[in-house]
Amino acid sequence: MSEKKKIKLLFVDDEVKFLETAAKRLGRGDFDVTTATNGRDAIKVAKRGKFDVALLDLRMPDLDGSEVLKALKKRHKFLEVIMLTAHASIDSAVECTKLGAFDYLEKPYEFDGLVEALRRAYEARLRKKFQHDKKRMEHLEVLSMGSSPMGILRSLLTLDDDEK
């Protein structure tokens, strides 16, 4: 029996009760949620698992959410990140967008709005990945016409690197 694939979500917030409750709610729906309560742990957890979307508190005591955003976007090119804050400002929204955030939400939010934003982020991730894979396949097709088997293998390994 096939089960609907859940969206793999990394949820980071230093407000532990909020994090746990919101994660449980999302987990009852279409999300497979992993939580972290600070920026450094979030970066470590992201290295270990493969996530579709990250939901990131902007203000945390150890590392600012924007620093975590930068680190995540640098290492995980297909990961979409939504910023969450109780301290919204136009300046921080612009900064996060420049750093590659997919969306910027203010606490407290409408739960349905959050779910919708997460779904849109996931779809954007799929589109980005599809475009990337398509380009790679085209590249491999060209290569396979003239390259040695070793050359093709090297290209395939590069493809794996991009997946991280």
């Binding site: 407000e15 449980k24 709610r25 009852r28 203000r59 600012d64 109780a86 203010e106 606490k107 739960f111």
Partner: protein, 220 residues
């Protein structure tokens, strides 16, 4: 721009704005937890066959709501106490209580480190001063401490009664240059309160000595 009478209106509004922003940040976090807890209870109750684990979940959510409401009432209580600081331009204040309140308000800043008010054994330390401007000064000092020191490292504050008034000492800040610690505006504020700064590089503390009674000035 400043005047001898104290920091100007724009600066005062800026200080109030900073406090309100940090308090609203804290309240929104509490409300977000309440909102999610209520939502989770509602989701569970919609389930036609809730499990035993769901029932336990409802209890956890109800406790979380109660905790967050207590937290919110505490925040509002402190905000109310702060609002009354502006009732009188000059009033008798208990310095440790004032520092404690200001540290709690500054503690809502996202980058805030823990602040520990040390027990100096001096009991109550009372002076006659401008409560709002002293809170402004303490807030600025704590902001500097949070900005300059490692995230998460504790800031210790000691309040003592000294001859002629009171002294507030902040740990570790004595290692920094005064220009890095306090803006010109903040140093002016020290003067307005009739106080002076003491940088004790040996023990690494920054002290502010305040008089028993501020010289009464219009607008102070």
């Amino acid at each position: 721009m400043t005047s001898d009478a104290g920091v100007n209106g724009e600066e005062r509004v800026r200080f109030l704005g900073r406090v309100i922003a940090s308090v609203s940040h804290e309240l929104k976090n509490a409300l977000a937890t309440v909102s999610e807890s209520a939502g989770l209870i509602s989701d569970i109750l919609r389930d036609p066959a809730p499990s035993e684990q769901d029932a336990a979940e409802v209890r956890v959510c109800a406790e979380a709501v109660a905790d967050e409401l207590r937290r919110s009432f505490g925040i509002i209580g402190r905000l109310n106490a702060f609002a009354h600081s502006a009732d009188h331009a000059i009033a008798e204040v208990e310095v440790r209580g004032l520092v404690d309140l200001t540290a709690a308000l500054a503690g809502y800043l996202s980058f805030a480190s823990p602040v520990r008010i040390m027990d100096t054994g001096d009991g109550e330390v009372r002076i006659e001063t401008s409560p709002l401007q002293l809170e402004d000064l303490v807030y600025r000092l704590l902001e500097s401490a949070f900005r300059l020191r490692h995230r998460g490292s504790e800031v210790r504050v000691a309040v003592r009664g000294v001859e002629g008034g009171a002294e507030i000492r902040l740990s570790e800040l004595g290692r920094y240059r005064l220009d890095d610690l306090l803006s010109e505006e903040s140093r002016h504020l020290v003067g307005v309160l009739g106080g002076h700064l003491l940088l004790d590089a040996e023990v690494g503390e920054l002290g502010i000595r305040l008089p028993h009674r501020i010289r009464s000035r219009s607008g102070a």
